[in-house]
Symmetry: C2
């Protein structure tokens, strides 16, 4: 049994942490819930009301699940670690630090062991993209990936999601920028997909060109993906491989059917028209579940 803290407990991902811990029957001994926001002061966990506190006193816990943004993570993760916790952080604060494992349990579970008190949960689109690509990499070896994303507004947090629901800002718009833009014209989100892919897969030579785009849907990220391999792939075998891959379903689904599912859905697997050794496919997954909370709780399970 473990003592658990959730930091950012009232956010969209924080709430999913609680639901996923319940659903997976994670052995929780005691739970401490924190939030720096003013939204709610209590939330339900396993049918009981729990107070949500400002993080003024740091308790001793075994695992602290963080989803409170980069700034809070940088400030509070070291404090939880000092008190003996292993922090699993959903922000991008530590993801590329050399002594912080960046883990997708279906891909690099063994990296968890190398932690020094902090483990990073990868970017949502990166997790969703790699779940089906990794088994294909093992078969044909990936050289280049080109993806355009269709990312839901829940990925931007609760305030933004409420704007969509009120018909503001996101409604009827397609926004081809997520995160700040750098000199070379790529955005922070697009760089995450490149550098996190290399780190998770331990393949520093893979190139990833991403165009990350916000679309006016509340939940589930979709990706148009084209991959070039070293060896000649074929769509039928890819489909067979993916039907056996953990966490992957080869099925066409509506976004509303993918919402709240932990699997990543893949369909339209076909030969690429631009790469001789290429495949193209459509990938979709719930960004709040496998793209965030479920992946973090799976990491926590590897620790217990």
């Amino acid at each position: 049994m473990a003592r658990i803290a959730v930091v950012g407990a009232t956010g969209l991902v924080g709430e999913k942490f609680l639901r996923v811990l319940e659903e997976r029957n994670f052995p929780v001994d005691e739970i401490f819930l924190f939030s720096t926001g003013k939204r709610k002061r209590e939330v339900y966990f396993k049918g009981e009301k729990h107070p949500v506190l400002p993080p003024l006193e740091i308790p001793e816990v075994d695992i602290a699940l963080f989803s409170a943004g980069e700034t809070v993570a940088r400030e509070l993760a070291p404090l939880f670690r000092e008190k003996g916790a292993v922090v699993v952080d959903n922000s991008s604060a530590f993801r590329l630090e050399p002594d912080v494992p960046l883990v997708v349990p279906e891909i690099n579970p063994e990296d968890v062991k190398l932690h020094k008190g902090i483990i990073a949960n990868p970017n949502c689109s990166t997790i969703i993209m790699l779940l089906p690509l990794y088994p294909l990499h093992l078969r044909w070896k990936i050289k280049r990936i080109i993806t355009s994303t269709y990312q839901s507004v829940s990925g931007a947090g609760r305030d933004e999601l409420e704007k969509l629901e009120r018909g503001e800002e996101y409604r009827d718009e397609i926004i081809p920028w997520i995160g700040e833009e750098f000199e070379d014209g790529y955005t922070k989100e697009e760089n995450k997909m490149l550098y996190e892919t290399r780190k998770i897969m331990h393949e520093p030579g893979i190139m990833v060109e991403a165009t990350c785009v916000r679309v006016p849907v509340p939940y589930v990220h979709s990706l148009s993906v084209t991959v070039e391999f070293e060896k000649r792939p074929n769509p039928e075998e890819a489909s067979e491989i993916l039907k056996k891959a953990p966490g992957v379903r080869v099925e066409e689904r509506k976004l509303r059917e993918i919402k709240d599912r932990d699997e990543v859905f893949v369909w339209r697997i076909r030969y690429s028209r631009v790469f001789e050794n290429g495949l193209s496919m459509w990938v979709a997954g719930d960004n709040l579940r496998k793209g965030a909370a479920t992946n973090a709780v799976q990491i926590a399970e590897l620790l217990t």
Copy 2:
């Protein structure tokens, strides 16, 4: 002065035909409006009410602008042609027929002269994509194009647009299929982007891999585009070329600002990360205007 017929006059594109003819002061002598639907029996043109008739008697006109779908085009275009009209058809019925020019006036205006009574107006996404790509092709020569589209629901017609507005079907969904799917996993819309690009540009060697996707916005198609050239391009020069290109604006815009504009907007011009001689960019244009009605009226202008 010309006698004009509009077939499909009450559809989304048909109505735009009338607005664009008015705005551009097209020299209309007499206008005949037809529709096979039952929606409206009269529409306004230049401030006057005109009856919309079922196409039972075919008048003698100089130019017939068609936007009534493939089936109606196949049936009626030959009848208008017999009566002496040049048909400019917005459907895909004749686009790939060898003796039917497929024209984007900024790219291949001289092809208009080769018509034998029918000229085809290209697919909306293809027009919008090629307007900025063609001037770059003249400079560096395109080898391969890979695009994922974000196509608005108005492209599917008025009935579908009304479903979106009622919050049905399209709302909150991303649909990676437009048109029927073929054996190889590509859809009709994706094949249009490949074969029409080759025909318009007179470049049968160019490869186009498109993933065509319907997104829940009412107006304006957006495209994530990556292009490989034979020669080494650079984003600054591309931007300079496109600032001078007819019908193109190098500006970031919201979809609601692009709606009802005839120009195609391009931004995020940057080096590709997967092609050494590549550029990536974001392209958006009003599918009912330059993607359909404006392009057709421009073709009609070339005929007068």
